[in-house]
Symmetry: C2
């Protein structure tokens, strides 16, 4: 260990900017708030962050560099969201310069199964989808 690690997963010192609260417009046609969870998974970065944490904890900038295309703003928001949902933990090492590790919780790890299944489906069927799109588009505007 490097120093005293502060394990919290809750709050440390940062007052939250706003946390948009996701504004679920209440469409209880289905079961419960499945859409709530789907919104997490479906957003642009959450899944990639989870996948980046699958093997080992990572530091903020390590995540930022490995994801490529994400802004620090979005990485922060995504990590906050995942932390709030209990999917990742945030561990602060009070060193200089400061170091913060993010890691998957058991809940976060349990999400890997379904997500990876979806990822495999995506990879396997991506050619078919691309072909379907080209066919569809081609017949519309030749």
């Amino acid at each position: 260990m490097t120093g005293a690690s502060v394990q919290e997963g809750k709050n440390s010192s940062h007052s939250q900017p706003d946390l948009p609260a996701q504004s679920l417009p209440a469409h209880p046609g289905e079961c419960g708030g499945i859409s709530e969870v789907l919104a997490r998974v479906g957003d642009k970065w959450s899944v990639l962050v989870v996948m980046m944490l699958r093997d080992e904890p990572r530091r903020f900038n390590a995540l930022k560099r490995s994801i490529d295309g994400i802004s620090q703003h979005m990485l922060t928001l995504t990590l906050r969201g995942l932390e709030r949902d209990g999917l990742v933990t945030r561990t602060v090492f009070p060193t200089t310069p400061p170091r913060v590790d993010y890691a998957l919780t058991p809940l976060g790890h349990s999400l890997r199964g379904p997500v990876e299944a979806l990822g495999r489906w995506a990879m396997e069927n991506q050619p078919a989808i691309r072909a379907a799109r080209q066919a569809y588009d081609g017949h519309l505007e030749p």
Copy 2:
């Protein structure tokens, strides 16, 4: 059968409004266009439509009524997207009044597996997530 069914899955008579093309901002940090597929699954309605079609084909208004909360605009866009990606077929019965059935393609059915796995995960862990959120929020603004 009611009349002559026109099976196309491509185009019938409607010129597409625009089809936003999703604007994928090219972040090839991961594998291929997994995010493309994730965007389909992650949007607000696609998954629910797929689930509604899991057992049998459905007509436009049947879908609209059963999903509860979706606007005809969004239902149209969602169905167009799914059709374009080769996940659903659009079958027009030239009767009066017109009748249009939507059904899952084999590709669409193959998506059910991963999606339902995710749905199960969501239902099983929704209590944990809600609890985590309350804990997180509670410690921020008491």
